[in-house]
Amino acid sequence: MAPAAQGSHCGPPSARADLHAAVSLALGIGVGASFVLLTIAVAAALITSGAPTDRWPALVDPVTGAVHWPVAFSLGGLLVLMATPIVRLLVVFVWYWRSRERLYAWIAAGVLAVVLASVWVGLRAMPRREERLQTGAVHVSATMVRSR
């Protein structure tokens, strides 16, 4: 077992405060931005939805080619949200690298590499939605059918 390393609450107070402040700031910006985008998206959907069959449209109208902004804000909010923990990892990596604490910098880099590898998994190894629908592996409710 390795000797005890300094925990996040040990070490020079100013240095550890920097790390905590930077991580908290990165999370705050990501959460704040996604909150604004998602609020706009959901508010727009609440205002514009009408009859029970009047569902949220696709991002781009297949006939007119017009962009549906509620969906665009929704997708934007979700992507910002998913990017937030990745940015937090980047902040931690940079902080440890600049502090010459290479062990923890490499650990952060390793976690980032695994997260990036998950893109490949989604594109290649995971059964796609269309395949699951075709094979009957997905139960599609009446509600979801009406939404298409």
Binding site: M1, A2, A4, A5, Q6, G7, S8, H9, C10, A21, S24, L27, G28, V31, S34, F35, L38, T39, V42, A45, L46, S49, D54, R55, V71, S74, L75, G77, L78, L81, M82, T84, P85, I86, R88, L89, V92, Y104, I107, G110, V111, V114, V115, A117, S118, V119, V121, G122, L123, A125, M126, P127, R129, V138, H139, S141, A142, T143, M144, S147
Partner: protein, 274 residues
């Protein structure tokens, strides 16, 4: 999705976010069954929406936890190495497992976790001075008398193995890895409950994003569902994080155990086809 559906989903997500942030679970434990049973959402889409919401819960709760030095960043980073690998593995496996098998497995795990929490004393943290083999050391606000109490992190291998399991479960079920990580950190690794919950909340975001990306790339993230879920959970999580800092460790343990047992009951019924 119509306006009434949107309102129900927002309400469910608000409650899920608040409870999830208070207990370090993420909101998925409530959100997934609610979406499946109340809104008739397909399992993969419910899990995908929940995973995105878990990112929201984690990130929102972690802002306060990290700022107030409740979360142990180094410990979280070390444990994320296996939770992220587990999450990617679970995302691959998830598409090939039957609902009933997953529900049965999850119910059994939940019962064991809740029992381990109830039977152990509230403070099982390892004092730093007594932890000669500790891999990490830290300090947190003392439960009694003010000031800060130091602790040592022990049994790192068990924590890493638990992290792998947490990642797999998170990806398959769409719940936060805190279900596994909080009990392991408290009972096996000697981490104080408050630090375990805060560190778990910080870690869950990375675990969930390693799950969410494959789901998104495979087309399982339905923005019409995930957006209101994420928004509701975001708002609820802020309230939950504030409540957690005012609640004593023993209260949190009992509340955590009750939530685990209720979810086990729900999952067991599903596994039995009821």
């Amino acid at each position: 999705m119509t306006a009434p559906d949107l309102g129900v989903i927002l309400a469910i997500s608000l409650v899920a976010g608040a409870i999830g942030a208070m207990l370090g679970l993420g909101g998925g434990i409530i959100l997934v069954p609610a979406l499946i049973f109340l809104q008739d959402v397909p399992r993969t889409e419910a899990v995908a929406a929940s995973v995105v919401s878990v990112i929201a819960t984690s990130s929102a709760a972690a802002i306060a936890y990290v700022r107030d030095h409740h979360a142990d960043i180094r410990l979280g980073l070390v444990l994320e190495t296996t939770t992220a690998v587990g999450a990617v593995t679970g995302a691959i496996v998830a598409g090939y497992l039957s609902d009933r098998f997953v529900a049965a497995l999850f119910a059994a795990m939940l019962v064991l976790a809740s029992l381990s929490l109830v039977r152990r004393p509230a403070d099982t943290s390892t004092p730093a001075t007594a932890a000669g083999a500790a891999f990490l050391e830290g300090s947190c606000a003392a439960e009694h008398g003010g000031g800060r109490a130091r602790y040592g992190v022990v049994r790192l291998r068990e924590g890493l193995a638990g992290g792998l399991l947490a990642g797999i479960i998170s990806a398959i079920l769409g719940v936060g890895g805190g279900l596994v990580m909080v009990p392991i950190m408290v009972v096996r690794m000697g981490v104080p409950m408050r630090v375990a919950i805060a560190t778990s909340a910080l870690m869950i975001g990375v675990t969930a994003v390693a799950t969410a990306i494959p789901y998104y790339a495979a087309g399982h993230v339905n923005p019409h569902l995930a957006a209101p879920c994420a928004l509701g959970v975001l708002v609820g999580a802020r309230a939950g994080a504030r409540l957690a800092q005012r609640t004593r460790s023993l209260v949190l343990r009992r509340a955590f155990a009750c939530v685990l047992l209720y979810t086990a009951y729900t999952m067991a019924r599903r596994a039995a086809g009821l």
